[in-house]
């Protein structure tokens, strides 16, 4: 931003800004120290300072974060202050006060490492750009990723705020979790920003080492959970003003920031059409859906049902039994097992997705051809319990008939369980008749298996908001697919799936034991090493699965409510940091990485891409404000 000041321009220059003091009551420790401030210096909280002391014959450097700045006058009490002008506020005191400004600083790093405090009278200096990075161990980052500029006071920025990607993509840790209140650009925009920076890094590595099989490759999968906000990320943000905002990008080495390009958008298929539901997006939006055969092929049957049902032993046993009966498994030449829907041995079903009639039965399910209808929905005389359903409509009819008169083959399951399954199926198919294809033999399942870096893939979940079960099903399907790809024989070294999911509290709520929560927990706990990285976000981390939260290698805190910050899971932050989190500006974040002794306070650039339709600039995305020269920061695939 134009009003930012780089620390090198600080009027404080290279001069000492104060000295360490450690009188009784303000003792220095190996964690923190106090320093008084030179009468001509300006010190602010959030600044990064350094001092050095010779201890035991060896010089140690201490880098520290100014936590708070204090001012104490030379008066013993308020009455003395009053007395300096005899209680007259209009009068100037004969002499200026002899107050002292001092600050508390929390040690970020000692170099060489040592657990001892700096000595009193040690001079304190403002950190330079490079030193600010060193304070957070930038020299030890094996895979640095810049995520902002380090805040160094109210309006001053220091060096690059870097995390170590090894904590994000699986070597030393994995996953990112972002917490913040709604409506301040805290969460989704930061997730996108992280993706943008990782794509930049992947592109850089591709240019520098195109033949390196282990180079970083990134496949971002962005789940849209609010409106169709993320369907505009390939459009310029009309609030982005280059004169005002470009400098912040340039300071991070991106001279020509540009909205995402090549983005693929997916939305649920129309119930009675081949295209997606309307999203308002001008570009192409691909439809996604699943037929019964898609469900069987991908082993997704159990994910169709809510957690309460999945936890019901009788119910889950029945579903698994049916799934097993419907599934045919073939061993492939490469040793993998291919699942598919068993053919119906009675061959009455027409192998077509075209519906012959729009008639509906009593349950509102459209009829297929008369033969199929009779086989699965007819009365007891025509119903054939051994006929294998080939569509959801057939499956619903089949379950209904079985529940009315259970054949011996299926009588290990109670009638009540069959009826429960029937009710659940009817509800599910009614609510999700676009995403779950009632009569179609083939749907348009999401195929996210990509073998190289790609532009982001945005998948809409918002239109399923009224059907939480279906929303969870889609998420589960995505993760399941990624897991299978990353664990299969074709897994690509260095390829990382970044799955951005806001509102984690809906998909992995605290205390839940449903299949979706468990799947996300499995991803968080076990899949980082396989390159499936969850970029999760929520307003209140206290409402999400502890396992998901705890397994995040990088925590990002945007402005968060004070009540939320008082929850037990934030106790790993000290009180001042928790307070700071409640007053952060929209563009400010606290980055927490295991190797940081204190959260890194960074400012991120203003997004160039639109975050909702209202922000999208009119016109085509690629011809607005696009630079004439080839932009180094432009992501193309």
């Amino acid at each position: 931003m134009t009003d930012e000041i780089l620390v090198n321009d600080s009027p404080n220059g290279p001069h000492a800004i104060g000295k360490v003091g450690s009188p009784s009551g303000k003792e220095a420790t190996s964690d923190q120290f106090y320093f008084w401030v030179d009468r001509n210096a300006l010190v602010e909280s959030t600044q990064i300072v350094r001092t050095s002391s010779i201890i035991g014959g060896q010089e140690f450097r201490f880098f520290a974060l100014v936590e708070q700045v204090y001012r104490v006058s030379d008066k013993a009490n308020i009455a003395d202050e009053w007395g300096s002008t005899d209680g007259n506020s209009e009068e100037e005191a004969t002499f200026n006060g002899q107050g002292v400004t001092y600050a508390s600083a929390r040690i970020l790093r000692a170099d060489p490492p040592v657990f001892t405090p700096p000595l009193e009278q040690s001079k304190v200096y403002m950190c330079s750009d490079e030193e600010s990075g060193l304070a957070y161990g930038s020299d030890e980052n094996e895979a640095p990723l810049t995520l902002g500029k380090i805040k160094n006071g109210g309006n001053v920025l220091a060096g690059n705020g870097q995390i170590d990607m090894n904590y994000l993509i699986g070597v030393s840790g994995g996953h990112m979790n972002v917490n913040g209140v709604a409506g301040r650009g805290t969460k989704s925009s930061f997730l996108l920003y992280t993706i943008y920076m990782m794509l930049q890094e992947a592109e850089r590595q591709a240019k520098e080492n195109p033949g390196d099989p282990t180079r970083l490759q990134v496949v971002p999968i962005i789940l849209n959970v609010k409106g169709y906000d993320l369907f505009y990320i390939d459009r310029w943000n009309k609030n982005y003003i280059p004169e005002k905002h470009a400098a912040a990008w340039a300071a991070m080495g991106i001279e020509h920031p540009h909205p995402f390009t090549g983005v693929r958008f997916f939305a649920p298929q129309m119930p009675k059409g081949d295209v997606s539901i309307p999203t308002g997006s001008r570009g192409t939006v691909e439809a996604y859906s699943w037929s019964l055969s898609d469900i069987i092929e991908n082993g997704l049957m159990m994910y169709l049902f809510a957690s309460e049902d999945a936890e019901d032993m009788n119910f889950s046993a029945l579903v698994l039994d049916i799934e097993s009966w419907l599934t045919q498994e073939d061993v492939q030449p490469d040793g993998t097992i291919k699942r598919m829907l068993r053919n119906n041995p009675f061959e009455l079903h027409q192998k077509t997705s075209k519906k012959a009639t729009s008639d509906k039965n009593a349950e509102g399910i459209e009829k297929d051809e008369q033969g199929a209808y009779a086989q699965f929905n007819g009365g007891s005389t025509s119903f054939n319990p051994d006929a294998v359903p080939q569509s959801f409509a057939e499956l619903a009819g089949w379950v209904k008939n079985i529940s009315q008169e259970i054949p011996q083959k299926w009588n290990s399951h109670h009638t009540g369980t069959w009826r429960k399954l029937h009710r659940r199926l009817i509800k599910l198919l009614h609510e999700g008749k676009g995403v779950l294809r009632l009569d179609d033999l083939k749907g348009k399942p999401l195929n996210l298996v990509i073998r190289q870096s790609s532009a982001p893939i945005v998948i809409d979940l918002n239109s399923l908001a009224k059907v939480p079960g279906l929303q969870r099903f889609v998420v589960a399907t995505i993760f399941n697919q990624l897991l299978e790809d990353r664990t299969g024989p074709n897994a690509i070294n260095g390829l990382v799936y970044l799955v951005a999911l806001d509102e984690l509290n809906r998909f992995a709520p605290r205390g839940a034991k449903d299949a979706i929560t468990k799947l996300i927990e499995t991803v968080a706990a076990e899949m980082r090493s396989m390159g499936v990285i969850l970029l999760g976000a929520q307003q209140q981390a206290s409402k999400i699965s502890e396992r998901v939260f705890e397994n995040a290698g990088i925590h990002v805190i945007g402005r968060s409510g004070s009540l939320e910050m008082s929850q037990p899971m934030w106790r790993f932050l000290n009180e001042k940091t928790r307070t700071k989190a409640s007053i952060l500006q929209a563009e400010e974040k606290l980055l927490v990485q295991d190797s940081f002794r204190e959260p890194m306070h960074v400012r991120v650039p203003f997004p160039v891409w639109a975050m909702r339709s209202g922000e999208a600039q009119a016109g085509e995305s690629n011809d607005i404000d696009a630079p004439n020269d080839t932009p180094t920061g432009l992501i193309t695939y």
């Binding site: 030379d74 008066k75 013993a76 009490n77 009455a79 003395d80 009053w82 007395g83 300096s84 005899d86 100037e92 005191a93 004969t94 002499f95 200026n96 002899q98």
Partner: protein, 346 residues
């Protein structure tokens, strides 16, 4: 390693920190003081208001004081040892210093500081070689031995008088440091804390505009009627100036004024006395309203801190100087413990 204290039965003296008698000034032999009360007012005295006087500020008056000199002596009789004859000899351990504060606009800045850690004791009863060895031992740790020499004819080391002499020697050394500080810029109008005589080594009484402000009053050379007038002084009033002329010491022009509202334990609470070298006064400012203007300056610069128990008679630059010296001195207990360590006293 010195075993001086061990050899002479050194032991701790318990008790709190003692500030030497603040009214003490270095002796200059037997003296006779003449007082001329009619110098300014030949007739009947009356209180003179001075708040109305103009032209006393720094930018209006060349003699408006911009420097303020103060000293500090923090210490106590920390140990005793015994002469070969069995007389107890008190040993005072103290931190002493002098400081000058400079007024720049509305800021008060420290200018010169001299501070020392000293051990003061009568040394005559002990072998000089051993005393010297002990002094060197202390010096190596930044502590100076201040020897006290009493009348050589003294054979009886009476404890009370020896203790008094020891305390006074420490204070004399503090005055020396103040004089050293004062001498750095004695040509600039300066107020010293206390009697001018005690600082006379730091300035030329004929040429230097150095003025003393005395806060405590021991011998008030006024007759009964003038004494009652002194008690009755109102805020912003002074008594006429008079001459105070010790035969062997500095002759001064002096006057009393009230700068605090009073109402405390003493009727003289809020009253101070100012001293000016008579020679300097007569050669530089006689015939002007100098006395009123200097009174006005002292009134203006009085300490406004209600929590400070001597605020009514203290000047803000002096109080800040004391604060600063206190900060420079550091922790007295630590000095004391270090001394005990050096002296092998447990």
């Amino acid at each position: 390693m010195s075993y001086f204290f061990l050899n002479y039965g050194g032991a701790k003296a318990v008790g709190g920190t003692v500030i030497p008698n603040p009214t003490y000034i270095p002796p200059n032999g037997h003296d006779v003081t003449n007082v001329d009360l009619s110098y300014e007012e030949q007739g009947e005295w009356k209180a003179i208001p001075f708040l109305h006087v103009k032209g006393w500020r720094q930018d209006e008056w060349e003699y408006s004081p911009t420097r303020y000199v103060d000293g500090k002596d923090v210490g106590k009789i920390a140990a005793r040892l015994f002469t070969p004859d069995g007389w107890p000899i008190p040993v005072r351990v103290s931190q002493i210093g002098g400081i000058s504060m400079r007024i720049e606009g509305r800021d008060i800045l420290s200018e010169y500081i001299r501070a020392e850690r000293v051990v003061t004791m009568v040394v005559q009863p002990f072998p000089w070689a051993e005393v010297e060895e002990f002094a060197i031992h202390l010096q190596q740790d930044g502590i100076r031995l201040l020897p006290v020499f009493l009348d050589p004819a003294t054979q009886i080391w009476e404890s009370q008088s020896v203790t008094q002499a020891t305390d006074n020697r420490s204070r004399e050394e503090m005055f020396s440091l103040e004089e050293e500080v004062l001498a750095q810029a004695a040509d600039i109008p300066t107020i010293v804390d206390g009697r001018l005589q005690a600082h006379s080594g730091g300035f030329d009484s004929k040429t230097c505009p150095v003025f003393g402000v005395i806060k405590t009053h021991q011998r008030i050379p006024l007759d009964m009627s003038r004494l009652k007038m002194l008690y009755a002084l109102q805020l912003g009033q002074r008594l006429p100036a008079f001459i105070h002329a010790p035969a062997k010491n500095l002759t001064t022009l002096t006057w009393y004024l009230r700068i605090g509202e009073g109402g405390g334990q003493s009727a003289l609470d809020g009253v101070v006395r100012i001293e000016v070298s008579l020679d300097w006064y007569e050669s530089h400012v006689k015939g002007t309203n100098f006395v009123d203007r200097l009174s006005r300056v002292v009134m203006a610069y009085r300490c406004q801190r209600r929590s400070y128990n001597r605020a009514q008679i203290s000047l803000e630059p002096i109080v800040r100087g004391e604060d600063r010296l206190g900060a420079v001195f550091g922790n007295y207990t630590r000095l004391l413990n270090h001394f005990y360590y050096l002296a092998h006293i447990s």
